[in-house]
Symmetry: D2
Subunit: 95 residues, 4 copies
DNA sequence: GACTCTCCCAATGTAC
DNA sequence: GTACATTGGGAGAGTC
């Protein structure tokens, strides 16, 4: 007789039915995700069509996600580093 | 007199209202996307909890997206290369 | 009196000299890295010019890095999954 | 008689010797690249040990690569956007 | 109290 | 050149 395996058999030790279920859930979700990703692209394209700079727009969106305090902190340190590296117009009050 | 700017003024040349609208649409969509991405992670975690190997599961999902013919083709060429590099158990019909 | 700062002064609390040294070391190394990365691209291009498939060649190189045993293991599990998903030509010994 | 193939035989249509040569060149270069990448990490680690903020240090290094004029331009536009989004301390001269 | 282990983010590398 | 996916590193929590 052939191996007695049901529709949820574990042929080779793998629960095929369960695996399929997982894979299908993942695929469904990934599809949804792709739709949304495309929507986002569309918005950027539309913004671009209205004269906005996509690259910088993305930066602005990214900055919005950050905690303002933390952002401030980082910016301050960055300015210090840039200054130390001579990458900023010299400090006027030191002249 | 202060610059005469309306609610959709272009202070500094930027249409603030329009920009905000774009940014908010993007943020809303990104939120949705994040929710789904989290859902996907959950499914993988659940699969892992059921004994499946996450990394390999991802590979399987990726393979499913590919055209079978193309996949076959690639696999064939890869086997050729691996053989040429001596990375395969020797060809039996050559022994 | 003005702050007494030497050539390694910590204007703003940052040791400028030290920072510059770090940055310059990093930049030098990144340059070297870029040169090598370009060399690698050239080799792939040359291989392509000799009829090899770049994409698959990269896969072969990647596989070479892996421990053979581990690779075998992963491949085995993947096959199990693919079989459970009905993505493999049917098992002959089950027919 | 066995297939008459020389040391550079094209068993299966693949020039094994040539392929090996390419792969070995690539691997050698990738090794070198890895060494340098590790060196870079070390420098960052050392900088961190000296009190520098790695994340921001990376930003500074990245900024250095950019053309100053372009950088300035981008920064200006970004500020416009942030202002339009109300993410900047309000313009004093407008109060 | 330290150490491991896991989870998350960032960064690199790859595919389109 | 851009966008995705994967990998590696860092941080944080739980355990011994």
């Amino acid at each position: 007789m052939a191996p007695k395996v049901g529709h949820n058999s574990q042929a080779g030790g793998v629960a095929a039915g369960q695996l399929k279920a997982f894979v299908e859930r993942i695929e469904r979700l990934e599809e949804e995700k792709k739709v949304i990703a495309d929507d986002i692209k569309e918005v950027y394209a539309e913004a671009k069509g209205n004269g906005f700079d996509t690259k910088i727009l993305k930066k602005a969106v990214a900055l919005r996600k950050k905690d303002p305090a933390e952002r401030e902190e980082e910016e301050t340190i960055l300015q210090l580093y840039l200054q130390a590296l001579g990458m900023l117009p010299q400090e006027e009050d030191d002249i």
